[in-house]
């Protein structure tokens, strides 16, 4: 019981709450659903949660106003805002007010799972301050900002290096295009063309060439999985 991470969901729309709970269960966590702002805020203070999913236009208040209160109450939970206020300006506002991630409605189930997984992982992860991150024969040297496969240097552009470090932090998990655009490029709008694909494609080719096997896999239109050791490929 104590091993099951708990995720608080504060959402008034039943359908959305159901979809959120399902995603949480899919990740092996326990969903707890609250239907309004006050109950959500109270619940956040009563138990320990890994992640809190907050809606914005809730009966009784706006989820992003709750973030500061939750933090002030000493909770270490990461906050994912899932809201119908889904424009770039709303997202930036949410992130500036302390949300750890922001997902617009209507959301894709896979996108939601990817975001939640990334947050759960971030909660578990000790700060990556080691200089060297190793995945089998693939090495990422943080200070030198270089990538090596079997001690052979793989030339990557600065952006590609940022891409690979983001992948590395979420190794084995699905990472969506939107996540990459937001985290690697710090852009919060939806470009009409899938520009991210081209960048990932280039990095993937470089790594595959150097490693002799696929390192970044495409996950049926949802996003990508960084899996240098080929352990999770299904």
């Amino acid at each position: 019981m104590s091993d099951t991470p708990r995720i608080l969901i504060v959402e008034d729309d039943i359908e959305a709450a159901e979809a959120l709970s399902e995603a949480v269960r899919d990740l092996g966590a326990e969903p707890i659903v609250m239907r309004n702002y006050a109950d959500g805020l109270k619940a956040a203070g009563l138990a320990e949660f890994k992640v809190i999913v907050f809606d914005r236009m809730l009966p009784g208040g706006d989820g992003i106003d709750a973030i500061a209160k939750i933090r002030a109450a000493g909770s270490t939970a990461l906050v994912l805002v899932v809201s119908a206020l889904g424009r770039a300006a709303n997202k930036i506002e949410g992130l500036e007010k302390g949300a750890d991630d922001y997902l617009a409605k209507p959301f894709d189930g896979d996108e939601l799972r990817a975001r939640l997984r990334a947050l759960l992982r971030r909660q578990d992860m000790v700060v990556l301050d080691n200089d060297l991150i190793t995945f089998g024969d693939l090495q990422i040297r943080m200070k030198a900002r270089t990538v090596h496969v079997r001690n052979a240097h793989v030339p990557v552009s600065p952006k590609e290096f940022e891409l690979i470090t983001f992948f590395a932090r979420n190794a084995g998990e699905v990472v969506t295009r939107t996540q990459l655009l937001e985290n690697v490029w710090n852009l919060h709008f939806d470009p009409q063309t899938n520009v991210v694909d081209v960048h990932v494609g280039r990095l993937r080719r470089k790594l595959e060439q150097a490693a002799g096997h696929p390192v970044i896999h495409t996950d049926r239109g949802v996003g990508y999985v960084f899996d240098p050791q080929g352990s999770v490929v299904g």
Binding site: R87, P106, L187, V195, V198
Partner: protein, 485 residues
Amino acid sequence: MSLIRKGALSGEAAPIPIHVNFDAPRPGAGMSRPRRSLAGSAALRVMLIVAGGIIFLSLGAMALQYRITARALEARQAEVLAADLTGFAQVYDQRRIPGLREAVEARAAITPPDSGLYLLQDRSGAVLAGNLEGWPPGAVPDGALFAATPAQDLTLPGGAAFRGVARELPGGFPFLAARSWAPVTETLRELRRTILWVAIGLSALALLAGWLVARAVVGRIGRLNSLADRVAEGELSARLPGVRSGDEFGALESHFHAMLDRIEALNRATHRLSDAIAHELRTPLNRIRQRLDRIEGQEDDVAAIRADMAGTIRMFDSLLDISSAEAASGQRPGLVPVNLSEIAAEVFELYEPLAEDKGLNAEAQISPEAWVLGERNLLAQVISNLLDNAIKYTEAGDRIILTLEPQGKRHLLSVSDSGPGLSEELRATVFDRFTRGADQQSVAGHGLGLALVQAIATRHGAALSLPNTQKGFRIEIAWPRLSRP
């Protein structure tokens, strides 16, 4: 689509300015309050009118006083002369020339030649009596005996002025009696000097009075004007401090405040409405989306529905983004100093591989440290939309150039390509919402990209133009420059 710019069909030289309101006041780097010229200022006019009125009236009064004084002085001198002449007439009546000679002698003895002139000569011109050595040049005998008129002005060779009578008495005796005019001119000169000083002092006081009146009247209007300026700059909640006075100005201020309260309320209602629309539309869309995820089989149909939903939301977001950028136009809140060079380089770098894969020749010439007051995400979106368009509408082998360079008080960002460019009819409407080329229906999009670019540019006080090019498409956006923070 109609041919709006028929006249511009053959013109190739002049850039077509886009219908952005560039003249609107812009704060800071680009947005300054409208300056009212001093000459055109009502305060100056009121001040000058009040001061002019005071000066005109007081100068008039002083001129009148001057005339009265001058007349009185002249009359006094004339009286003295008349009294002399009366005395001489009496003596002449009784004792003729010998008596007159004695009387003139006596008068001349007690009169210095600078206050009065007396002269009696005989037929040959020899002086019989008087304080003059000879007949003064210019004095022409005129009139009869000792009448006070006609009198004449005399000027001695030394320059001293006199007024008196010159006569030829019966028997051919030239006779002259005149009083010095110096006391009159002296006094009047003194008076004029006094009037000059008083006038100078009075003008200064009048200007001061005018300024005080102007300040009292126009200052009240100035307060309202600066309030209106602040509101125009986007500070909708700006109000005048203090209490309203009971006069017409107070009433005007109250009306102004009531009007602003109403605008603010409407503005808030609009914001709430767009949030409500977002909520009311996205919540059911989200339910559809979640149910869609539970449908098994028919993968292609489900994917198509998902793509359509995403497209609808993107369009809907763009419309909301356009209207919120338009609503925020000219407002400083939300804008921070950002390095446009960095943003341009990042977005170019994002698109470069895409262009390369399409066989395009993409190039960026970005001068560093182009600081502007802006919102990073919006600026990035502008550049992204422009590059996205350029890549969409060009073919392999075409060129795309992104430049950013300082130009006067602005940073000029341009994106040009060697693609097919725009037809003249499209040029006129390209920034309107939902404008798409008739031959471009195959290219994905809603025709909102450039409308959003324009709205964001306007929100940043930037000037947008489509210069004519020999070939292809070129767009220029001049962002107000910010000196490095």
